[in-house]
Symmetry: C2
Subunit: 214 residues, 2 copies
């Protein structure tokens, strides 16, 4: 079946989260890398754990909780002013350099499918000036990726069968969740890490959006 | 309601997983700590991701997959002989020093509730010589902790209402999953880390099983 739509993950795939690390480093010199890695790891853990516990909270809350945990764990003093500043970075992330030109090149329908709650995701997409046929958040389902119903949301909202949808993510587990669901999948391996061992393989592994050939 | 049963997590709670790290260090000097941390992190990630993907595989397979990933990620050559030896460590783990005496002290019914599949868990419990009223594995449910149906398994199999069950785990997310379900919960904070921010608090935080007072 010919590809009728491309669906993109947001954070780390289209939007570069590096600025968050830079801001962490600014607040706690020498600790920026360690803090942002622990923050990210806890952010993801909490999405999976809360989904399994059936205690969904919006990604903005989960992200805040993960930041509180990470700072507490590393013994870094975090006040409301600092946490607001760090969370604000998430709504003004830069695009990766390969994004704008690549999106123009793809003539299919295009959508975002993200863990981000609308309070984070909508202002981010708006400030970047990118145009999509749909910006879809897991928030309406109250469960996070890689639950299959999340990927089904793109099918339902785009009105395209799963076989006609290509999915692009820099998170291997997200790419493989989409593959398990039935999408055609490109994993953007920006960090040059091994494929996760979850019983599926991406259809293609690329270094950037430039390398996606339709 | 008076406590009628105590339910214990296995790995890291009753059984000390440190021997696995020691064996990693033996195979790859200087890398044991880093490897065992990444292995453990991936092992847990895969349980959560597979549960959400509805692609359950037994914990023994997930543990093997996580080891393969971790070695590949760190550039460590892993052959079948080494991986067999490492996985074998899991069925002969030692008990923490506080376990045997504490279990004798608890006069309630006692059970294990573990992610471990029977092929790993049953030989481990047997070789340790501990006696339980039930050794329960998530394997029969095909979903991992902290899904509520896992904790419900203890209710069903022990025939005790959730309000009469105390749950003990050294994994904070597991303790909080059990609390969210409705158990009375002791978190054994062996590593002196902060409480996870998942919307619940343990009923008690202790340093070891010795400190659990009924």
């Amino acid at each position: 079946m010919a590809l009728q739509a491309l669906v993109f993950d947001a954070y780390g795939t289209l939007y570069d989260v590096h600025a968050v690390m830079r801001r962490c480093e600014e607040f706690w010199p020498g600790k920026g890398m360690q803090l942002s890695q622990l923050w990210r790891a806890k952010q993801l853990e909490y999405t999976w754990q809360r989904s399994l516990m059936r205690r969904y909270m919006p990604f903005s809350s989960v992200t805040d909780d993960a930041l509180q945990y990470a700072c507490s764990s590393l013994g870094l003093a975090l006040d409301r002013k600092k946490s607001d500043a760090l969370l604000e970075e998430y709504v003004k992330l830069a695009l990766y350099p390969d994004v704008r030109k690549s999106l123009d090149r793809f003539k299919t329908r295009k959508a975002i499918l993200s863990n981000g709650s609308p309070d984070m995701l909508d202002p981010l997409v708006q400030q970047s000036g990118l145009k999509f046929d749909a910006v879809l958040s897991v928030d309406q389902l109250k469960v996070f990726k890689p639950a299959p119903e999340v990927y089904q949301l793109a099918v339902d909202r785009l009105g395209v069968a799963k076989e006609g949808i290509g999915f692009v993510s820099s998170n291997c587990w997200d790419a493989l969740g989409a593959k398990s669901f039935g999408f055609r999948v490109w994993w953007i391996n920006r960090l040059k890490v091994p494929v996760d061992r979850l019983g599926f393989q991406p259809d293609a592994i690329v270094g950037s959006l430039d390398e996606i050939l339709l």
